[in-house]
Structures are given as structure tokens and as C-alpha cells.
Amino acid sequence: MAKNKILVGKTSELEEAQPCIVVDGTTEIGIYRFHNKFYAYENLCPHQGGPACEGLLIPQIEEIINSDKTYRGMKFNYQNLHIVCPWHGWEYELESGEMVADRQFRLRKFEVIEEGEEIFVITE
């Protein structure tokens, strides 16, 4: 199948941790920039079909357990962001696209390339 190279925009225009949606035919793709890395996923939640990439990008929440196994609270892990589908709240790791509650589900991933000052996403 032929590959398409879709222009997303100038690198400088892609804001940190703010999704940009590009449309290629009937396929919608969400592109993210985080810590100078780029990620692209289909804007389609495998749960019920929601526009996953139009939801919030929220840091992973971790539980804090003391050495004696008692519970102290929760904290954000700001290094690991989750893409959250706005329809039902299914959460996907930005890094892998895997659904954090059940890793048999994942967002369809696309390759992102940077050429000069421009960002492209590769589709088939």
C-alpha cells in the first residue's frame, strides 16, 4: 500500500502537550509533542469509537505506599502522560499508545518525521 506523507506544520507551531489533529481522507490523526519527541495516533478509541486524541492529556497517577505498606496518598507522574478519550475516559500511554487498564487495546500508531522545520506524519 502506498505511503502518504502528510504535512502537520512547522515544528515551532506544535505546542508542547497540545494535540494537533490532521485529517487524511477518512482517517483522523492526533499529533503530540512532548519533551521534544513526537507521537501520532489515530483519533479513534477502540472502545466505542470516540475521538481519543481530542481529550485531555493527563499525567499518570501513582499510589504512594509507605515502607510499612500503609497508604499515604496519590501523586502525578509528570514524565508519563496519558491520552484520555473524552467519551468515557479510557486512558492510553502517550509513549506507547497502549491502554493502561488493559494492554490488549491500543491506539493505532503512525510514524512522525521531522524534516527541516516541518513535521510530517506517514500514513498508508
Binding site: 507551531e13 470516540g50 499525567p59 468515557h88
Partner: protein, 420 residues
């Protein structure tokens, strides 16, 4: 061809995504949010399917100033007017507040963005515009519309407030929404903590346009077998109108107050109250006393059905002397009741779901429901895409069972199909 859509901060708002971060989000447009649902509608050909949503919601608190104009009691009306005119916003004397965060701390963005949605100016109520918007996106023909905060009215400590609010809401709903838009139906709120007012409600509203039954909010502590309700059940049976029990939760319930994560409060609360009422209903022989009364259990999913059937049947074999009215095992009565599907539990092993469908006599007893716009809503595809259902079973669950149950006239949407 490609096109690009960058979030336009000037047209939206910023939502907090952690203690220190925010994210720009566009204002809510339900049609845009649900455009993938519209793709499903077109791909699956819902245009040729009757789809009836037996449980969906609006936010009646947004219309509270209109509703309280229908309150009859002058003292309660005054209190309500004061509360909607000013106040601190901390307390309300007539809508019991609920601790909880159904929106998963803002992750389900239609909650925090709800008030940003624009509707066209005109005579029709905002709730009609918003409801038709999502109905059209999903391919839904008719809905049974229910309130949201009033689902907790059953725990209001003042029975007279529940009675007055119920009547005011029912008057407002039938006059401003149901009489105006024929695609909107409802099973009206029963002030169940006052059995006489419950009876009067059925008498007064039973024949109003768009009223297809009556609804009891399940979160309450009045037993369904109380003799005071028998005249209401008899009247409903005579009128051919179903009684529905709509599930809910309250974190103040003594047992649920031991939960500290909303996932548990919700998962248990939305099933336990209905399980309790259903078990009491059967054990007291109400299906025998009112054999033609149609009973619907709403918003508990369906996984509880086989569990309760097996528990009651097992005990019944040893303790039938405590349920002398019954002439068959409890599960057989449950198979004559109706259940809405949402939130439909999808186990990894679909054989489990298929067995649940069989035990519940799904083909005639299940009613698809979206629960939209609430957080765990289901699209019609949750039913349509199930591999073990026949085409006829899908049609029944998505619409025809409800059409038959409510004697719905669908001729405005399907001119050739008529009223039954």
C-alpha cells in the same frame, strides 16, 4: 487530501490537567464530539432500524428557575426561589447534593464543557435542542428522558419537598418538553416516599402526552412491598403503564460509606439498590399479585441478573415456605421483567455475555439504553456489533421491545410501521 485542526484557544476554555498544568479545549459542540457515532450510524444503516433509548438524561438543575414556578406549596416555593436567586451556592434546601465525580475528575470533558455549548435561538427549550443533537448523531429515533440531580431525591429528608419537586418537575417536563417534541418521552418521577402522592401522580399524569410509564428512583429506603403502594401498582397495571426503577448511588448509604474510591461506590451502588428492590419485589409475590404489571430495571447493567437469579433460586429451593405466593422459581419471574442494557458489561469471554443474554431472555426483555450524556454511556453499536445476536434480536433490543412495551406510535419516523 489533508486538513488540519489546531485547538483554537480563543474559542474555548482551559481545563486543568494536573495540579500545575492546563490544556486548551474547544467549546462543546455535541455534533462534533459525536461525529464518530454518526459514522457508525451511517456505516451500520441505522436509518432502517427503529432505535429507542429507554434511559437518557438531561440536567434539570439548569432549568430550576422554570421548574420551581410549578411548585404549589408557597413556603417551599419561596425557599426554592431564594435558593435559585442568590445564596452561597453551598447548600440547597430542595436538591440533595451528591458527593462524587462521575466525570472522572474532568476526563470526560462533556461535563466541564457542558455550559459552553451553544443552541440556536428560538422557541424550543435548550434541552430539546441538546437532546435532539445527540439523538441524531447516534441515529436514535425516540428517547425516554430522565432527570439527573433528582435521581437523589429519594434520600431527601423532607418528604414534602420530594412531593412538591416531583409534581413541579412533572408539570414542567410534560408541558415544556414532551408536549413540544414528539421524539421525547418519559417515565415520570414518582414521589415514592409518599405513597398517596405517588398514587395521585399516576392519576394526574398517566394520560399526558409523551408519558410512557412511571419511574421510581431506587436510592431510597422504602420497601417496595409496603401495602401503601398496592393501589398504585393496581392502577398502573390497569392503565398498562410500566413501573421502572432507576438505579443510582449515594455515598451516604451506611454500607457504601465504607468505600473510598468512586469506582466501587458506583459499581456497587448502581446495582445494589436495584438488586434489593428486585429481590423484595419477587419474594413478596408482587409478580403474582400484579401479573400484567410491567417492571423495568434501569441502569444496573445486566451482569447482576444471572447472579440474583442463581442466589434466589438456590435459597428458594430450601425456603419456599417464606415465599408462599410464588408458583415457580424467582428466576422465572425475573425472565418476565425488563432490563435496560447500559452500562453493558463486555467480558473478555463473550460466552459469558451470551449466557447472560440467554438467562435474561434478551430477545424480548432487554431494552437498549444510552444513558447519554452521562460518563458511561453506550452507543447502539454496543448491541449491534455483538456477534452472537441475530438480526432480529438486534432489532428487538435496539427498539422493537421498547416499541411494544410502551405501545409507541412510531409512524412519524417509520410511516409503514405504525403503532405496534
Amino acid at each position: 487530501m489533508s486538513s488540519r485542526n489546531r485547538t483554537d484557544k480563543s474559542a474555548g476554555i482551559e481545563l486543568p490537567t494536573s495540579d500545575i498544568h492546563k490544556m486548551a479545549v474547544e467549546e462543546l459542540d455535541t455534533t462534533k464530539l459525536l461525529r464518530h457515532a454518526a459514522h457508525q450510524r451511517d456505516d451500520r444503516g441505522y436509518k432502517d432500524f427503529l432505535i429507542v433509548d429507554t434511559d437518557c438524561h438531561h440536567y434539570e438543575n439548569e432549568s430550576l428557575r422554570e421548574i420551581i414556578e410549578f411548585i404549589e406549596d408557597p413556603v417551599i416555593k419561596h425557599s426554592a426561589k431564594m435558593a435559585t436567586t442568590g445564596g452561597t451556592g453551598v447548600q440547597s434546601s430542595f436538591l440533595p447534593g451528591l458527593v462524587g465525580h462521575q466525570d472522572i475528575a474532568g476526563r470526560v470533558t462533556r461535563y466541564p464543557l457542558r455550559k459552553t455549548e451553544k443552541v440556536p435561538a428560538g422557541e424550543n427549550h435548550r434541552d430539546i435542542h441538546l437532546t435532539l443533537k445527540w439523538m441524531d448523531a447516534m441515529g436514535v429515533d425516540y428517547v425516554c428522558l430522565f432527570p439527573t440531580p433528582m435521581l437523589a431525591m429519594g434520600i431527601h429528608p423532607q418528604t414534602e419537598v420530594e412531593v412538591n419537586m416531583a409534581r413541579a418537575y412533572n408539570c414542567w417536563l410534560t408541558e415544556r418538553l414532551l408536549a413540544v417534541e414528539p421524539r421525547l418521552k418519559s417515565m415520570l418521577y414518582l414521589p415514592f416516599n409518599d405513597p398517596d402522592a405517588t398514587y395521585r401522580t399516576v392519576q394526574e399524569f398517566g394520560e399526558k402526552e409523551g408519558v410512557v410509564g412511571f419511574m421510581v428512583t431506587s436510592v431510597r429506603y422504602r420497601p417496595v412491598y409496603d401495602n401503601a403502594y398496592m393501589k398504585t401498582y393496581a392502577l398502573l397495571q390497569e392503565m398498562g403503564k410500566p413501573i421502572a426503577f432507576h438505579a443510582g448511588y449515594t455515598w451516604t448509604d451506611q454500607m457504601l460509606s465504607t468505600t473510598n474510591r468512586f469506582i466501587v461506590t458506583h459499581a456497587l451502588g448502581f446495582t445494589f439498590f436495584n438488586i434489593l428492590h428486585c429481590a423484595n419485589w419477587i419474594a413478596n409475590g408482587l409478580p403474582v399479585r400484579f401479573p400484567e404489571l410491567k417492571v423495568i430495571w434501569i441502569e444496573s447493567g445486566i451482569a447482576w441478573i444471572p447472579w440474583l437469579m442463581q442466589r434466589l433460586d438456590n435459597d428458594y429451593k430450601m425456603r419456599s415456605s417464606e415465599c408462599p405466593a410464588l408458583t415457580k422459581p424467582p428466576s422465572k419471574y425475573m425472565q418476565e421483567m425488563y432490563y435496560t442494557t447500559q452500562p453493558l458489561e463486555i467480558p473478555d469471554d463473550l460466552n459469558v455475555l451470551e449466557t447472560t443474554f440467554k438467562m435474561a431472555h434478551a430477545e424480548t426483555q432487554l431494552l437498549w439504553a444510552s444513558d447519554y450524556p452521562h460518563w458511561d454511556m453506550d452507543l447502539p453499536s454496543k448491541i449491534y456489533d455483538l456477534p452472537f445476536l441475530s438480526n432480529q434480536a438486534k432489532r428487538n433490543i435496539l427498539g422493537k421491545n421498547a416499541q411494544k412495551l410502551f405501545s409507541l406510535d412510531v409512524s412519524d419516523r417509520f410511516p409503514s410501521k405504525g403503532s405496534s
